[in-house]
Symmetry: D3
Subunit: 227 residues, 6 copies
């Protein structure tokens, strides 16, 4: 049975947007190194950085019908997350769907399949993270689900979770943890700023992080010249 779940709870929009300030690497660390999608998810153009509330779409291979269904469920600040039920490199999404999503205030697309019209999408500044780029068209014949939990590129995404994406990849933050992760991200960044200054001044990480004793305890040895 195919189902569209409406009115999923979302995190408070200001909090979601605040997350985007930190980038994927920081957020991923700040939530304990979980929730990252596989590294084959790449942006179609460099420099984009977005955070949005996930509207999830499960699609059959080679069939994008449910993306059209999902558009109606999107609100400003959302991000669309699409995963096929089996691996597929078709181009499920192009500039017309992007036009429709932009009209609704959607901030981007995450798709573990293909995307097309990438030059136009780049001009529109509609960011997409996808597994493939392909012009291969899809049909509209078989149903799927909207706003049910799914696995996308190895990460579990519950509808309403916050998805953050930049040049480093895509990370999922569970809706219930958004505020904690935001706080952790701020703390982490503050600490890193101080560290960065010391490293730029020439101090070694060995000393900044106080690693020498632990390394010696593990048995690290130093030699000179040829081994």
């Amino acid at each position: 049975m195919s189902v569209v779940v409406r009115n999923r709870e979302r995190a408070e929009r200001g909090v979601v947007e605040a997350l985007a300030a930190f980038g994927v690497a920081t957020i991923h660390e700040a939530q304990g190194r979980v929730g990252l999608m596989a590294p084959y998810m790449r942006p179609i153009y460099p420099g984009a950085l977005v955070a949005g509330s996930a509207v999830t779409v499960s699609v059959p291979p080679g069939d994008n019908w449910m993306i059209h269904v999902a558009v109606e469920q999107c609100q400003p600040g959302d991000i669309l997350v699409v995963a096929p039920t089996s691996a597929c490199d078709c181009g499920y999404f192009g500039d017309l769907l992007a036009t429709s999503l932009q009209a609704r205030g959607v901030v981007g697309l995450i798709i573990e399949a293909g995307v097309r019209d990438v030059r136009t999408l780049t001009e529109m500044r509609f960011p997409v993270w996808s597994r493939y780029i392909s012009a291969q068209g899809t049909v509209k014949a078989t149903l799927g689900d909207v706003n049910r939990p799914l696995v996308c590129a190895g990460a579990l995404v519950n509808p309403g979770d916050v998805v953050v994406a930049d040049d480093d990849g895509v990370c999922v933050v569970p809706r219930q943890r958004v505020e904690t992760v935001l706080a952790n991200s701020r703390a982490r960044e503050q600490k890193e700023t101080a560290t960065r200054a010391r490293l730029a001044a020439g101090e070694l990480g060995l000393d900044v992080y106080d690693m020498r004793k632990a390394l010696a305890a593990k048995g690290l040895t130093y030699q000179d010249g040829k081994d």
Copy 2:
């Protein structure tokens, strides 16, 4: 036996160039979703869009001798299509061959193998769609064929077919179908322009494409809140 076939028939050049106005996604749709190469064929720089008449070259793995042979068969408006007889990531092609092809008016290269000197090729604005980028050199020891039908990245290419390539990939249009595909592409684009305006204004694809009844007939259901 290795053969070079000379004077292959080509489509009328004005028609070929007209195709490039539409891009790969549109043309691929306009000819019934056939003829697309595999999505691992990627441009060496973004933004290029070309259409040309295919001069085909079948090469042994790690041997680019026949590309030199093929150059002589090229005319202005042609595009070179190279496929190895078994998978190979060597850099068959660099800036010297590109200089030679540009001197003859060739519009680009499609190669299901590697290319090198990509910085120089980018400066020259000689577009290449390849499977790999690699500096690995090739030898000149074994023959192949020029202007015989071949399979490149999963697509059948007959010499004289029109090949269109952009950021979305590479598509082959049989020579005999070029005019039909051009007409279809024009019709498709016109229709999409109208649709785009409606979507940009906030209409839903569900309504623009009149999908709701068919979805319901298939059994799509809507729920609220948690599933």
Copy 3:
């Protein structure tokens, strides 16, 4: 036993820098087509071209502790070469480590694993050639080696070897051969400049390289029209 070898011999710095003038394709040819890393090693931004003396680091999967150890062994003009003991896509390296390396005059990083903070690295103009881009963090729990010979992306790298990298990939020049390879590169480039002019003027490679007789001897035949 884990070992850090200090004070590895390096090639004379002026010679190393001179190599960078030629680019990977030329140098790879000039040393007899050996020493190239696999083509999955890609730069995080286009246009970078560096040559440096290799400081090698062998790391466990998902553990970047030894990179911190290696930083101390780096001198101006060095390049860091990191290979995991088994395939790994984690993000071993980010902007903090890059800050530290830049402070020591290191010219770049070659890593057969993942890198993160690529937007910041791009802004810093710290060039990285990696197999993956990934935000996935690493631990600091298990030792490895610094400045021992290793295989990185299929190429043997001895500490002190010169590594050259650009948009075409990454090439290793044994320290003892640097001057010979430099001389060969100069000779090759000079010859190519002359060839380029002839090809640009419309001469065919078939004639410039005098290939017609050898092709005919191998049995190449020409036909007209359809095959």
Copy 4:
């Protein structure tokens, strides 16, 4: 924080074993075509068919410490499901761990990483479905989790879910759905037995499944001879 959750609820053991009678293809269909792991999960020897209650283990790349921790949580009829936090091809598991699991009545191992000692495991008839076979050893330095939900080869596995595996792959049945899926599997198999007899007698699927009208309605046409 690393956690081991003890005493997870399991499905009734007789029901679990009954599922194994049907095989993965039938069960996957019987639960609506969900829950299948990616096809790169392959058995180390042909002919094995098992069903067990999942004990889940999340492990760092190249570190099998938590598998030793997980063994203690296993009961007769369980199946161990191991996923690394980032892609890893190390050999996490060999004949000693298999001996330990067999002593506890565990029916098999599912691991989205590498396994070793496969000849001995085959002799022991301890079945393993893995992504890789590799002798590469792992360390015991970093913690993970036991019996928390994880994604393995693209499928969500909750501890206590039933995992079924055979030559066709690996399928996850949520604990709460086991009885329904068992009933559906029985119904499906019964129906297929009848169909098989008709097909073996030479009837066509076109008629058995009554497809001709629907195909014609979609526009399927028949031609003779050359196209």
Copy 5:
């Protein structure tokens, strides 16, 4: 438009069966090293060797409807060749379809996608060469073509061509060339039998094939001890 072409011409059945005596490596050589499918096409069990007349089927990703249509077009001695219009790992084919094909005298299946029920297929001795093994089900919603030329795993297959498959892979012999290829295969095998005896007796290929002079002319040199 979707088309089923009926009554394709086939090669004489005795000639087709005679080809199977030689195996793929010999036949591939005997027809000039063309027509081989990509090496990712693997048999589901070892030891099978078949030759048959191709009935070709083009299928959408995740949709096996047209295979049911194709069954009706099969005759004794045929082999089914299935390629998806974009890459797909679904299990298009299982034991029910195999039962139907065996009832019609079909000798095997070549599919550039997934297959399931492999244990049953093995028991039935119905040989399949596929790209994937997967239990993932398919739908019956969208049309394709039967008996039109297609590209399968990189090889062009015209309906009625002869397809030979064994443990080394899958090779396509154009229908018009079957007799020539058969004769060449016989000649090649006769010659190899004589060569095999000489090599088994300890003669070197260097002498049997008279390679020493050509190697020396190319510049091969011999050294003793360390390089």
Copy 6:
């Protein structure tokens, strides 16, 4: 310049054969977890286990000429190790070369490329570990090297090194370390035999290896029921 190095030193044959008693996983551990080839190197049939002195062959892509040259350099107890200068899936080796190697007492072949005639090789019990199986033929046109150091599947192989291969993969033992590794392997196996008995009797690895304190120190916690 292409070179064949003759009369490379080898380890004492009895010692080499003794290594084969332990298998790859044990030997790899016994030499400190180095020297393993990538896991894509797979045996053509299960159950083979060999150790031999490496005769190394560097070949161009698609060209097996140097394998014929290398045969002459082989002695009883040797193993042939072949690596292409760039990635290649061609079938470099078949039953005729195997006949020749068996006549000389060679114990097997390691090839980071393709092999063919695998059914005959299996009947001959000539074991091969390869990256691919493919019938695709090769030419004899370009030279390479015999008995010079090379990188095969990510592992450095010096001529005369001992190569051990079984169902778990392929491992390289430097000639100078053979006796030490043999002694370590014996010690390791002895210890494992004792451990195996305790685990079979139901003792936990947590206790056998005394891990509980270290795990607790790292912060491992236990919970009951739902997480």
